[in-house]
């Protein structure tokens, strides 16, 4: 009796503890604590002179920069530009890439024909296109969007094509026996089964959209977070550089969760839990 109690108790305790930390609130609390600790140590180190204020900056001064730019409105203009360029690039690039990738399903011949060209284009670091893109499209908004498209389109194209190629042949055969033509098979099997892969490229491409916008701004621009970071770094204004980086991080974060929301909307069948499986 006593033995069974002494065994049961620690197990129960451990389980209760694990549950508390692994719950939504417990996790958020830990994550928040880590962020606070990180900035506290950084700030402390900067104030105590362990690290150079000049080279590393400090959270308090980053906050000052943030407040300053928010007050002047500069922050919102720059964020707006970058966000607009990134989203435009992401939407167009992903849409064009996905549609082309899916369309290649129709003709394995064309797909095999252009495969080496796609591989060749994909193997060039797209950032290297930036100078040409600026020459062609000027220093304005269009060149940044074009750069973002060049980054996102190829990712979407390859993912969509690979997924469409792997669409379950048995499902396609089943539809054919039910009297489906090629377009039916495409719209009712290939597109829906490719959708999860296309959406998973959204996550990657949101990041690439931002990369395209910011790199374009680095090279030549008058607005945007990339412009802000580039100008500040040439003036050795590290705190403003950090300000731009943190805003970029926040944008990426928000966009990521937006994609998550879109995914839930578009793929309700993936959310269907199998917890309440019923046995015949």
């Amino acid at each position: 009796m006593t033995q069974s109690v002494s065994i049961a108790q620690p197990a129960q305790k451990a389980q209760a503890k694990k549950w508390a930390l692994d719950s939504g609130w417990g996790r958020s609390l830990l994550q928040l604590a880590a962020v606070v600790a990180f900035f506290a140590i950084w700030e402390g180190a900067a104030r105590l002179g362990w690290v150079s204020n000049f080279l590393v900056g400090s959270p308090a001064k980053i906050l000052d920069a943030l407040v300053r730019d928010a007050h002047s409105g500069q922050l919102f203009t720059d964020t707006g530009y970058t966000l607009f360029e990134a989203i435009l690039g992401f939407v167009f690039g992903t849409a064009v890439g996905s549609v082309c990738g899916l369309a290649l399903w129709y003709s394995p011949f064309v797909a095999r024909l252009i495969e080496p060209f796609i591989v060749a284009i994909n193997s060039v670091p797209k950032i290297a296109f930036a100078p040409i893109v600026i020459l062609w499209f000027g220093t304005g908004l269009i060149s940044k969007v074009a750069l973002a498209i060049s980054l996102t389109a190829i990712v979407a194209l390859i993912a969509a094509y690979e997924a469409a190629k792997d669409a379950d042949p048995d499902l396609q055969a089943l539809l054919v026996t039910l009297g489906a033509n090629k377009n039916d098979v495409f719209t009712k099997v290939v597109v829906p089964s490719t959708l999860p892969y296309v959406i998973s490229t959204f996550r990657i491409n949101v990041g690439f959209g931002l990369v395209g916008a910011v790199v374009g701004e680095f090279i030549s621009s008058e607005h945007g977070l990339g412009h802000m970071i580039f100008t500040a770094s040439s003036l050795y204004d590290l705190n403003t550089v950090w300000e731009g980086l943190f805003v970029l991080m926040a944008i990426g974060f928000v966009l990521y969760f937006l994609i998550d929301l879109i995914e839930r909307r578009l793929l309700p069948w993936r959310q269907a839990s199998n917890a309440n499986t019923l046995k015949v």
């Binding site: 048995d170 539809l175 039910l178 039916d184 009712k188 089964s193 309700p268 069948w269 499986t277």
Partner: protein
């Protein structure tokens, strides 16, 4: 009994880099109206190939398919195909899956919906019409697949080991459901299986394939009166057929390994 579908000297070979494999070496057999024919044979004898030829998914190298007196290419749109995998579209609900056939043949959707709901009620799936396939058990999914096959009102139902992934109880139950549906809707069924027990219990006739490339080795008429899976298995004639068919397949393995 009149012949519904006749296969005449069907040949099919597959070729790849390493050479050509003759799979079907001139198959000839008839399927009658309202027949229940099982095709058995050693693995790799081309059972599924026969199906794909009948369904119009593969073209035979030579030979004729005669359907109700007319030579046809294949029975696309006229057959219902059920496989070991239920092949439900995971992104569609149960009801949407059932309605895929009517949708493709542009049937009036309201009427098809009503029929679908009747079927779902009959087969114990009422209340699950808006569930996604992954929420259902294997037996339930296979019943949805059966309804999807039946609702299209096919002339011939092709079953490619449809129950072999299920546990024995579910399987007996679904065999019963199938037998009943076939009787009610007067369907012709062709069943491919390597389960001799299932072939004898369900069929009116069993076609044994053998050899390489495969040919029809023998056709058994199964004289079992009972029309339920358990009843048929208890019939005095059952074990006789069972042993005879086991014998047929054993001879094949010896020839194959020599």
């Amino acid at each position: 009994m009149s012949v519904q579908l006749a296969l005449r000297n069907i040949r099919k070979s597959f070729s790849n880099k390493h050479g050509t494999v003759d799979v079907l070496g001139g198959l000839t057999f008839d399927i009658n109206e309202r027949d229940f024919v099982s095709i058995i044979g050693p693995s790799g004898c081309g059972k599924t190939t026969v199906f794909n030829v009948i369904a119009g998914l593969l073209e035979a190298d030579s030979g004729d398919i005669v359907y109700r007196g007319q030579t046809v290419e294949g029975l696309r749109g006229k057959v219902g195909y059920m496989m070991q995998r239920d092949l439900l579209l995971p992104w569609r609900t149960v009801l949407q899956n059932v309605l895929i056939g009517p949708e493709l043949s542009k049937m009036p959707i309201a009427q098809a919906r009503e029929t679908a709901m009747e079927y779902l009620n009959t087969y114990g799936l009422a209340g699950f019409e808006n569930a996604y396939p992954r929420m259902l058990s294997g037996g339930m999914r296979q019943r949805v697949a059966l309804i999807r096959t039946l609702i299209n009102d096919p002339d011939i139902i092709l079953l490619d080991e449809p129950f072999s992934a299920l546990d024995y109880q579910t399987r007996l139950y679904l065999e019963g459901v199938l037998m009943e549906a076939v009787e009610t809707f007067h369907k012709t069924v062709v069943l491919v299986t390597h389960d001799i027990d299932e072939a004898v219990a369900l069929s009116k006739r069993v076609v044994v394939l053998g050899g390489r490339p495969s040919q029809v080795k023998k056709i058994y008429d199964i004289d079992i009166a009972a029309r339920s899976p358990i009843g048929a298995r208890s019939d005095p004639n059952f074990s006789g057929y069972f042993h005879a068919l086991c014998g047929e397949l054993d001879i094949q393995t010896e020839v194959g390994s020599a």
